[in-house]
Point group: C2
């Protein structure tokens, strides 16, 4: 088991390096090098043929490392072969982020005086006057119908925690790149250098005219709850907290597929959720709306129940009101036996094989902690889970691009439960026979989700006058 978890850690390793290798062109030499790389347990990404001449073949090998020591050990293993020469070692991640992941472009060539006179003065004045006379025209004659802000203060970034707004910028740019590439939504990173929820709310409200929707990202709980709900009250546009709503939506999508595979209805689920942060509480609420009546949420001290004396706060108390109606008590290991659904958004390696084995028949295990899950998928399956998935198989990027595109296309004022459910159902429908979820690289998936979201927005009354 240990070796599998190590392997998983390696797969989640953040160091992605391309090694340019020149090999004497003899059949079997590449295989020998790959065997050496495998011997130090270094996962490989793409292998690309770069150059061929009479004697040599040059290839780029992408590799994943935990740290620099791991990288050096791997390079050492390669160098032991006298037929292999390392020409170059490139940190691919740094290179792809050099200069940033996104850029602003003009949507039109500006090659003539007429172009300039229309895009800028004097022509632009007529557009301004039109919007001044009827502000709703801004939706048609500016970019707000495809522009959103990705708002963060960097207090809860990925698995990194509180690294502050500037260090979180590559994440926001990465997300913006995904939105641009997948669905043509123009997202702008919106770093706010503040830890005060009121300041953050006021700042976003004052700048909201630039945007058609707001994505809240990587802000620590419980501030993220206050910020999201207060902004949604004040603004006439969708305010979407990806760590809550995005994660919950993809989770429900996976659950729909999983329940179909095991032939169970939502009301037959007996769920345990590990993690009471932003994602955990959002998933718990979505589970209930989805029809799962029996949901117990655990935090670090165990099951949360109404009136629990220790480690409670207003948000956990709210959660306790709508979950765990039987007031189950005990640690995660104590409440898991006999239950058939585990969803973890908590900590690495929190769940043992014994705990999975204690679960009921045809159990479903979603171990979503990042970057290392509560239990490795292989271990959960070996321990008897019918279905197991980790965060790699359940990426928010399946949900938020289509959700935003659909919400903007509908000119929605909010992203409501119906739109999230439409996303989850469409994702489940688009998954193949073998998979719980479709391939997020398939642009058609995002287009299809956007269309489902747009229809759900109109149907559910998320649209309305004035936008």
């Amino acid at each position: 088991m240990t070796s599998d978890i190590n392997w998983q850690e390696r797969y989640h390793a953040a160091l992605i390096v391309t090694v340019r290798l020149r090999l004497v062109d003899v059949p079997g030499y590449l295989a020998e090098v790959l065997a050496s790389i495998a011997s130090v347990r270094t996962p490989l990404g793409d292998i690309r043929l770069i150059d061929v001449d009479g004697r040599f073949k040059t290839r780029d090998l992408q590799m994943f490392f935990i740290d620099e020591e791991h990288r050096d050990r791997t390079l050492e293993a390669i160098r032991r072969h006298d037929f292999a020469e390392i020409l170059q070692v490139t940190d691919e991640v740094l290179e792809i982020h050099r200069g940033g992941a996104i850029e602003t472009r003009s949507r039109h060539a500006l090659d003539s005086l007429m172009d300039l006179r229309m895009i800028y003065t004097p022509g632009v004045a007529s557009v301004c006057e039109k919007i001044h006379a009827d502000p709703s025209c801004a939706w048609d004659y500016t970019g707000i119908a495809h522009r959103i802000a990705i708002v963060t203060n960097g207090t809860a970034v990925l698995g990194l925690g509180d690294i502050g707004p500037l260090a979180s910028l590559p994440v926001m740019e990465g997300k913006a790149a995904i939105l641009a590439y997948f669905v043509g939504v123009s997202a702008e990173p919106f770093l706010i250098n503040s830890r005060d929820s009121d300041e953050i709310i006021d700042t976003v409200e004052r700048c909201a005219l630039n945007f058609g929707a707001i994505q809240i990202e990587d802000i620590a709980a419980p501030d993220c709850f206050v910020i999201e709900s207060e902004l949604q009250k004040r603004l006439d546009m969708p305010v979407f907290h990806d760590d809550q709503h995005g994660t919950a939506t993809v989770c429900i999508a996976g659950l729909i597929s999983a329940l179909r595979q095991v032939g169970r209805s939502p009301s037959e689920c007996r769920a345990v959720l590990s993690g009471a942060g932003a994602a955990g509480s959002a998933i718990a609420r979505f589970l209930i709306d989805f029809g799962v009546q029996d949901v117990v949420v655990c935090d670090s001290v165990g099951a949360i129940y109404s009136g629990r004396p220790e480690r409670m706060n207003a948000w956990k108390q709210d959660l306790a009101e709508v979950t765990n109606s039987e007031r189950v008590q005990g640690t995660l290991a104590e409440v898991l036996p006999g239950r058939n659904l585990f969803i973890g958004v908590s900590r690495p390696n929190l769940v043992t094989q014994e705990m999975v084995a204690s679960m009921g028949d045809k159990s479903i295990v979603f171990a979503l902690a990042n970057p290392v899950s509560e239990i490795a998928v292989a271990d959960a399956l070996e321990a008897g889970a019918a279905i197991a998935l980790d965060g790699r198989g359940m990426n928010n990027a399946l949900a938020y691009p289509g959700l935003f595109r659909g919400a903007l296309d509908a000119r929605a004022k909010t992203i409501n439960r119906e739109m999230m459910l439409a996303t989850a159902e469409r994702l489940a429908d688009l998954a193949g026979e073998e998979c719980l979820l479709p391939n997020m690289l398939d642009l058609e998936v995002h287009r299809s989700v956007a269309e489902a979201v747009r229809k759900a927005a109109v149907r559910s009354g998320a649209t309305g006058e004035g936008r």
Copy 2:
């Protein structure tokens, strides 16, 4: 004279329309139509051949209208020809602004799982950690080295005045499109829904981490002065107010060229400046730094002098301290006689031919009021000006793209006088024999200005540690 001013108003007309015209293909018919269009004094833009068949030629004619009545009158004049059929009338400006002038793009294709793992999680974590350990790395591994904010509250937009932030958005997007297309700078419109300078300053300061520089735009005086100077104090990056610094820079560029043509030195100039707003006061100060010792600034009540009893404020008093050392008094018409340089950034049709005629030998007239200048160029020349130019010939878009590109390339902390002067001198050097300024559509001009600015930034100490 009247007809010329009317023509000028038409040329500045904001309604830009394309009329698709199908003409019987007989030599001379196009000329007849153009004569009819000229008879109602409608200026023409591009004429493009769209389709040719045996009997007809279809062309798109771009036309400028003052208002819809003017448009209808022109279409009526065309319809009088039985060989001409109007197929379509398109408001070109609205069409080019439909969906906005700019968009965010991913700088990389995201076609493989590896792309996603590098641009986003898990790879991106290593970039975040690098920046967390050394914040100055953000300059290399995010987009801030090419990203700026165009900050406005919409209180002084073009010639339109106080139309509020939302209605000003097309202007900000137009400017962003120019920056993107000309110099690859990613500019984001940054509308702030506030009329309180302190709120605006705090908001920009809180969000400044997203950007490498700040452009202040179309904020009314005197708030714009406070906002710009306070932000420049608080932020470790260039804060540039285009209405002040951009206008002044292009104006000095034109003046360098004009002085070369008439063979005069800055110290021999006796200048009158009409307009004491943001542009006027910035031009006055730049004129002095440039070596023009005799500068009189006029506002609506006449020459501003130290201790003037009426219509003064702190900003005008500051201006009075550094200009008009002889304490000249009187209206614009009274102070103009004998002076050899007039620069107007004030009101349409404020200057008569008689006033220009009263000026000294080889007088230079820059009539820059927008959209209609203080006096038409033709009228000024007819009245004896050696050189006359209006706002069309002196566009800020000649200065700010290269200034920002150069400042960012130098990683400058401010845009100082040396960088502005380098811009002005380079623009004057790049102007042809016949022109005062180069063609702003020539991308090489902006590259050359950027290089001059970058060098000036390094030379003058505008760069420094910590960015």
